[in-house]
Amino acid sequence: MKSMKKVVGPEYNLSEKIKTNVYAVGVAMQESVYPHTMTVFYPRERKKMPDNYRGFILFDPDKCISCFNCSFVCPANAIRMKEAPNKRYYPTVDYGRCIFCHFCIDSCSGGALKATKIHDVAYKDMDEMFTPTEEMIELPEIIREDKKYVEYEIEEDDLHLKRTKGEDYLFVEVPPPIQIPMVSQCIDRANCIGCRVCEEMCESGAISSSVENGMLRMKIDTDKCTGCGLCVKECSMQILMLKKLERK
């Protein structure tokens, strides 16, 4: 059997009792004049979120290389790649599924996905939570009434709210990822049918062709190739591949 411990209240002498009571009255008077509430008066004020806050995700199509990394890594299967009119595949996010882990942002090889501190987007129904690419490019419309932002501060073992006038900046500026330059290369030339679909697809003019002596000569200019992968996706025989461009 475990032994029980008896709880004994503190024993104060008279002077200590007076002291603590005076202190209590003092705090009460102070709080009635200048209250230390812990409540954040959202939306008139917002809590300032840390820079690694994981909120609404923004997308920059110019940086996306359609690598599908984000959709592969998403543990909630919230990201689906959809074909855009320019034939490229871009992510869409279903916020009904997203668990805000931001693995997608971490995995994005082009630095096209960006974190924001926006946590307050409202939807009318589940369908609306599906966010197409177009709606990820600009910030969602938010009505801002906040005049102050609030931070928690620890002062002498006590938690305080610090209110600062002004709006919190909801973007997070992170340095762009270190990109490994990739270029398109032909890995199986014998199966090339010479259709030049690759040349037609390339927006950077990196692929060229010419006919000499009954031979069609295909050429990829690795200096011009941005590694966008369009030709790789569209190649009729699937013989192009993105390869690392390593400087010697």
């Binding site: 199966n191 049918i193 259709c195 030049r196 000569r217 699937q238 390869k243 010697k248």
Partner: protein
Amino acid sequence: MATAIAIGESEWEVAVPEKPLKDKTYFENLKAKVIDTNLCSRCLTCASVCPGGITVVDNIVDFPDYETKCLDCGACVRVCPRFVYEPKSGLGDYIEFIAGRSKRFAGQDGAMVTELLVSAIEMGMIDRGLFAGRDEKWATEMFHVREPEQLAITTLGGTKYTFADVLPALKEAVMFTKRGVGIVGTPCIVSGVRKLQQEYPIFRERVKLVVGLFCTENFHYDDISAYLQNKGVDFSKLIKTDITMGKFVATMTDSEVKFKVKALEEILPSGCNVCTDFTAVESDASVGSVGSAAGFSTVAVREENAKKVIDFIKEKGYADFGEADTSQLDFLIGHKKKREENIKGD
């Protein structure tokens, strides 16, 4: 900028095929030389590689909007077996001519086609076989069979006397396969596979078993279905079509419709009218019904790979084997040889 890329991956060459009509696209060349001259067999070898969009329109191989969509790459003329047509005929070379009946599967005759492909999957020679199945209206549909269990679809075996888009399904199959692809088709399809293999290594390396079917002729779906319906064939009850002893036999659940095949001459496709190959001489193994007893398939084992599969079937006891009589093929071989006369010289 110095790069660590292997020389040759940034620059490569492709041989450009000869173009008889110099200032026309390759598709127009194909059309002028094969399609408009009624040589086209509708094997769809061209469509299997065409990145633009060769397809079949009103039973004729065509390319809608080729003026704007043909990329003029020449892949179609490189692979078309009838662009430079070298008609084949006869029994062809073979290691052995045997009769076989699968104990495991039901098919048109002895289900040896099904047995060959499934055994090749079991041996690990291929990881998928392309089968021409059909829908409830007897239009052909292609199936990639990867597990023997899929043969539970009873419409996979058996002969459909309508063209099947076997080759357009082949490109996808070779791109996905890990081990190899097995394919079955009429002699024109077999010739198409051989052309693809001659021109492109991916087909050479990955198509591991080519089974040919004996063939006198095939039909366009619209033509044959209209004809059969006219003769009182109810597709919802149709379970088997066969050509035997010069008669077309449509077996339904409750009755049978029979008539002379000769009557079908009016809907004989022009490509078949110039086709001389009865036994698919270019196959690895050819299978047909003439040459063996009822319930058996006649098998011409031509190449070593097919021989290995037959040996495997024997070892496992998957089929009964018997004698085949090649002389029974003489009539149909001669009948098709005569079609040489229908081929107009350029």
